[in-house]
């Protein structure tokens, strides 16, 4: 990239959607009203596992204001909503496998009328034994959640010779870790509005990450072609993975009712419905065995992962694949064996959540490394320094990393900025003198494959559409969504930068499946890379055309025309045309200034059976250092400060980027110490913000963000992603800080106050598992 381009990207212009949002004028789904619009209510199963023996909707259908009541037999297309496996009906036919399974859909003139009718749907059940955890699911004679049995998928990574690895180890650490659910708790619940249009097309406005998933799901269920379904993203009040595949379900429900009634149908969940029905971060059990030599170098790593998928696959096997491929973290190891089991239960629906399987395995790996460091008398920073991947090294899947490998740089940046080593000594002194109040500092590193896994390559392409209008204003349409992360601002910046126009001239259009080709999902921290590159592709085509016209007007050859300072000028001369003047000239000469852009990364080679190959196109690296205070009497942990160093390739908008880091850390802190969904035999006990606590402003630590920029040759101006890495190492770093503070290794997340106190009292005060290196 030229120095000029770097300079132009350096400031952080405000978000393009910020003004509407601070004024309260941005339109979310529930803010949309259409004439004749109906409201939908969903009737779900009363049992997490049961045969549905009868459904009587006659009384509900006759209830006040009701326009339609639909059950499985009313579906004109396929009664199937599974995004990667055809195991999930939209509406129950004969068997309910989780509490969120839908039995009937109601459309009424008002929401109170729809609710009243919902209470009148009569369902009889023959309850079946509930498969309430992974252990029970895999036991001999377990009741099958599906006919094929409870093992949904098995993944593997195999590298080197494990026996040799154990032989080379001087220390072997073996421990089992476990993690609980996490709820996305986006502030806006799921919402969709399905509209039957006069031309026979169905429009679905949705709070969603993936309009193209919704388009496919609605077409499938309604029995329509893709051309007859359009999805438009409304302003979306947070997603974090929770609006990846899941919104296809409410969208199909509302669209079915819209098709039946010929009216617009809105479906917006209340908070309890949203927590009970939508996807969750998967609970995992992680059996971890790590071997290190006398220098602290990893000789072998063996991981057994057990993933509770819930009753349907959804994205569980895909999440598990990421956990599987990155279980070793950002480290070198000659011998690796990972075995991942994805298991059906009757529990909550597991799915995508920021980090996508990585926070769980990162928690385990980072704890193990700290334990190994303590055995060897090494600092946790030093053992990581000795093992972190460098340029040219191979990952656990034997993928050689040729560029943009910033693990060591993030470690050094975070260790230095946090004054890590000095603080470890000072806090150890403090703890020696303080009986109940303990302080800790902990490290967490991670590596995150940016963009989709090799197994998802069939989705890995993104489009854009750019129009330069006659007055020099620019419309940009992309297939990636704006979910709060700032995608629209980033692509507007990239378009303005590449075209040489003012940022204020660029208007990004709401994502609409009519405007761009299927661009895959807005996930995997891929939007800056995928949509950004697609926008650059289109902008470069337009710039070439505009340059040609500018050259003609300036009376010089094309090579002499430079794009700079909001216009076109002759190199070394004074003659200059503004961007608007050239746009107008193109219009008058009938030079078409509409261009489609496209980006797809090079094909990755991947052997799924043994988990060997190019798992991802590129990796993001991060190191976070958390500082905590623990009150041993109450079990209360306060995270006081986090230092976060992230290798992002190139920061397109540093202010938004640090906003991602700060937000990710607070979400990761919630995961580590606060957020606990209590689920007993498939029933969630606390589907509300009173009993499921997410961090408030009072809980938030201060955060120092450090950006490491090692450009990736295929990224837009070198950029990679940051959305997910922001959260992944946080819980690991906090857990290590708590272990330091308490002198005890806790093996379960979340580490709530009661769990901390009970664990320590069970342990009789706790063995000094963590020592402070000299």
């Amino acid at each position: 990239m030229s120095a000029e381009a770097a300079e132009a990207l350096a400031p952080s212009p405000p978000r393009v959607d910020a003004l509407d949002k601070v004024r309260g004028t941005a339109k979310y789904v529930d803010d949309l009203e259409l004439p004749g619009m109906l409201h939908c209510k969903v009737v779900t199963s009363a049992h997490p596992h049961a045969d549905v023996t009868s459904v009587d909707v006659s009384e509900a259908a006759a209830s006040d204001g009701v326009f339609a009541v639909l059950t499985a037999r009313d579906i004109p297309g396929e009664n199937q909503i599974g995004v990667s496996t055809a195991d999930q009906p939209l509406l129950v036919e004969t068997r309910a496998r989780m509490l969120a399974d839908r039995i009937a859909l109601i459309a009424a003139d008002t929401l109170p009328h729809a609710r009243e009718a919902a209470r009148k749907v009569k369902v009889t059940y023959a309850p079946l034994p509930v498969v309430g955890d992974v252990e029970r699911a895999l036991a001999n004679g377990a009741p099958p959640v599906h006919e094929r049995g409870n093992l949904l998928a098995k993944k593997q990574v195999v590298k080197g010779d494990m026996a040799a690895g154990w032989q080379a180890a001087t220390h072997v650490l073996e421990r089992t870790y476990s993690t609980g659910y996490q709820e996305h708790a986006y502030l806006e619940t799921n919402g969709v509005l399905a509209v039957p249009e006069p031309d026979g097309v169905f429009t679905v406005y949705a709070s969603a990450q993936c309009p193209f998933y919704i388009q496919k799901a609605v077409a499938r269920v309604l029995g329509l072609s893709l051309a007859a379904v359009r999805c438009i993203q409304a302003a979306t009040g947070g997603a974090f993975g929770g609006k990846e595949d899941y919104p296809s379900e409410p969208a199909a429900c509302a669209a079915l009712l819209a098709q039946r009634t010929g009216r617009p149908v809105k479906l917006v969940y209340d908070r309890a419905e949203d927590i009970l029905w939508s996807s969750k971060r998967h609970p995992m059990t992680i059996r971890h065995k790590l071997g290190v030599d006398g220098e602290g170098r990893i000789t072998a790593c063996e991981v057994g992962l057990y993933v509770d998928a819930g009753a349907y696959n959804g994205l569980s096997a895909v999440v598990a694949e990421r956990a599987n491929a990155t279980a070793l973290g950002p480290y070198r190891a000659p011998n690796v064996q990972v075995d991942t089991y994805v298991v059906y239960t009757n529990n909550l629906f597991g799915g995508a959540f920021r980090g996508f399987g990585s926070p769980q395995v990162t928690f385990a790996m980072e704890a193990q490394l700290d334990e190994a460091a303590a055995r060897l008398g090494l600092s946790p920073a030093e053992i990581r320094r000795r093992n972190l991947l460098r340029k040219g090294d191979a990952t656990a899947t034997s993928q050689v990393l040729p560029e943009s490998v910033g693990g060591v740089e993030t470690l050094e940046a975070a260790v230095t900025a946090s004054d890590y080593e000095q603080k470890r000594r000072a806090l150890a002194d403090f703890n020696a003198k303080s009986r109940y109040l303990k302080k800790g500092i902990g490290l967490g590193c991670c590596m995150y494959g940016c963009c989709l896994h090799a197994g998802g390559q069939f989705l890995e392409g993104s489009g854009s559409l750019l129009h330069v209008r006659a007055d020099g204003s620019v419309n940009v349409a992309i297939g990636g969504t704006e979910i709060g992360q700032g995608a629209f601002t980033v692509v507007a910046q990239l378009a303005a930068q590449e075209l040489g126009c003012a940022l204020s001239a660029v208007k990004v259009l709401p994502v609409n499946t009519d405007l761009v080709p299927d661009s895959g999902p807005t996930v995997a921290s891929r939007t800056t890379v995928m949509s950004g590159n697609a926008v650059l592709d289109a902008a470069r085509q337009l710039k070439a055309k505009m340059r040609e016209v500018a050259a003609h007007k300036l009376g010089v050859t094309e090579e002499k025309v430079e794009v700079a300072g909001g216009g076109f000028c002759v190199a070394g001369g004074l003659a200059r045309l503004t961007f608007q003047e050239v746009a107008k000239a193109c219009y008058e000469r009938k030079v078409n200034l509409t261009a489609e852009g496209w980006f797809a990364p090079p094909r990755k080679e991947w052997n799924e059976t043994v988990g060997v190959g190019e798992a991802y196109s590129v990796y993001c690296f991060a190191t976070q250092v958390a500082e905590v205070t623990v009150d041993l009497r109450s079990g209360r942990v306060r995270v006081t400060h986090v230092t976060a160093a992230h290798d992002v390739g190139k920061a397109v908008n540093p202010a938004m980027l640090t906003g991602q880091i700060e937000g990710g850390i607070v979400q990761g802190m919630g995961y580590a110490i606060m957020e606990e969904l209590k689920v007993v035999d498939g029933r969630c006990q606390n589907p509300n913000f009173t009993d499921y606590l997410i961090p408030s402003s009072a809980d938030a630590p201060t955060v120092q963000s450090l950006l490491v920029e090692l450009p990736w040759s295929l990224g837009p101006y070198g950029a990679k992603g940051v959305g997910e890495p922001a959260l992944i190492p946080t819980a690991a770093a906090i857990a290590n800080a708590i272990a330091f503070a308490c002198g005890h290794r806790f093996t379960h997340l979340p580490l709530t106050p009661e769990r901390l106190v009970l664990t320590l009292s069970d342990a009789g005060g706790g063995p000094a598992a963590v020592s402070v290196a000299p």
Binding site: A18, L187, E188, R271, N688, S696, T702
Partner: protein, 157 residues
Amino acid sequence: MKHEELTLTINGTRRTGIFPLGARLLDALRRLGYTGTKEGCGEGECGACTVLLNGRTANACLVYAKQAVGREVVTVEGVGRGHPGQLHPFQAAMVQTGGVQCGFCTPGVIVSGCDHLDKGGAVDDGTLKDALSGNLCRCTGYAKIFEAARVAKGPTS
């Protein structure tokens, strides 16, 4: 379902509407087109529906519309009244610092933050943590919201 006619004073304007008996202030505001006020939880935990009721912050999901009759209601659409560009300095600062991400909590944060600043509240971390603790934000981690309050307060504080 029974309905009643209510007249509310919203952002200085008297507005009359017919609402179901027992309608919440949140429902009444949204029905009258003040859709900036959001429902995030419906139980007074998240603060997305924060409005001012006679100059004090309230969760509009926990107040009956009828209870607001005869009181002054200020919503996010009204906090900028009388300021340059009809934008309260805290709104402008939230744009500038990046205190906004998905935007769904933002109206409530704006109402709470404007109220805090208008009453001369301090902008140190401790005070702000307390002042904004009724407004859950899942995106920002709060740092840039605090920064916005400090920018809005200005260098004289």
